[in-house]
């Protein structure tokens, strides 16, 4: 640390331990970022929606999972889910960062008629 008086020329065990942990942490972070920069996903945001089947049959709530496999983050993601009977509901995700997954729930008035169709209606790229 910068404030230490440098009367002592040898570092003690605690200092070496803190340095060791710090060096490993910094190396891991830089290593991950380098890997992500060169081998990670590039290009625009790429959102994939997945519907999770209700845990019990006859449930009116549909769980929506959205994953961003693209290179950029998405903001204000609106996902719409429609049932076969054209009953629709939507859910908004404030942020879906690159590489991240978010989930939400859409409630229907009645258990929706299969098959369900999901689409990303809009989002902003950041």
């Amino acid at each position: 640390m910068s404030g230490r008086s440098r009367r002592y020329h040898r570092r003690n065990g605690v200092e070496w331990a803190v340095f060791g942990v710090g060096a490993v942490l910094v190396a891991c972070v830089v290593g991950f970022l380098l890997y992500d920069a060169f081998a990670g996903p590039g290009g625009p945001a790429d959102l994939r929606v997945r519907l999770r089947p209700p845990e019990q049959p006859g449930q009116a709530a549909v769980r929506v999972e959205v994953r961003n496999v693209g290179g950029r983050s998405a903001e204000e993601v609106v996902v719409e889910v429609c049932s076969a009977a054209k009953e629709c509901g939507e859910v908004t995700f404030p942020f879906v960062p690159r590489g991240a997954m978010r989930d939400g729930v859409i409630g229907f008035a009645d258990p929706p008629a299969a098959p369900l169709e999901a689409r990303v209606m809009s989002y902003r790229e950041v």
């Binding site: 065990g13 605690v14 380098l34």
Partner: protein, 280 residues
Amino acid sequence: MTARPIRESLQEYARGLAGGLLFSLPLLYTMEMWWAGHNAPPERLLVIIALTFVLLLGYNHFAGLREESDLASDVFESIEEMGLGLLLALLMLAVLGQLTADASVGEVVGKVVMEGMTAAIGLSVGTEQLGDITQPERLRRMGREGEIVLAGLGAVLVAANVAPTEEVLMIAVETSPWALIGLAALSVAMAWLLLHYSEFKGAGRVARTRLTGFALGGAIVTYAVALAMAAALLWADGRFDGAGWVAGVRQVVVLGFPAVLGAAAARLLLGAGLDEGEDE
């Protein structure tokens, strides 16, 4: 050649942690910083780490207490501070509920880097400033480069808390050009005033504080450093993305004011109590 007592090291780490928290707490509680963290592409985070490392190296070099500070110990200390800063950010973000179970590794790394780098600067300054060590010979070594590093650090310390806010952009786009020119003029005036004040506080330091030959020169150089730091902070927070260059320059001028206050007051903020023993 004896090693430092463990107790003394622990005291220093405690001081550093206090400084790191004091400085980065407003940023840990700012949602724009979390967003900037998970929206930042990896290349930007790498540049932020590199810039912070350079700033820490510079501060450790010029604020070091030994007459001849060597590169190896500057690097050692900078890595210590960076590691502790990352740990502190990780801990605080977890406690503040910002590291949720569904977050990806990239998200966590982005947030921790964004918050951790400011914490590392706070740690560095905290160890120094919250201590009771007063070493007159320290500033004596500090030439023009030292002054610039100190000014840059002061600018970051003050402006980092303002940079991520929406208000900078709001002021930047809504203010008339004449008001912005006025703000720039006020910035230079404040720099001059603060530098002048810090000059007569330590009576003998006239020659050193003045970065150039003429009276306003120091203020202008200080403002240039402040503008550079303001631009770096805005870039790090992603405030230039899609803003266009006019809005970009306007934002730099708006953030330049808090930055120049930090830069010009750096001697007062970071060099307080170190004025004795000046002998020019």
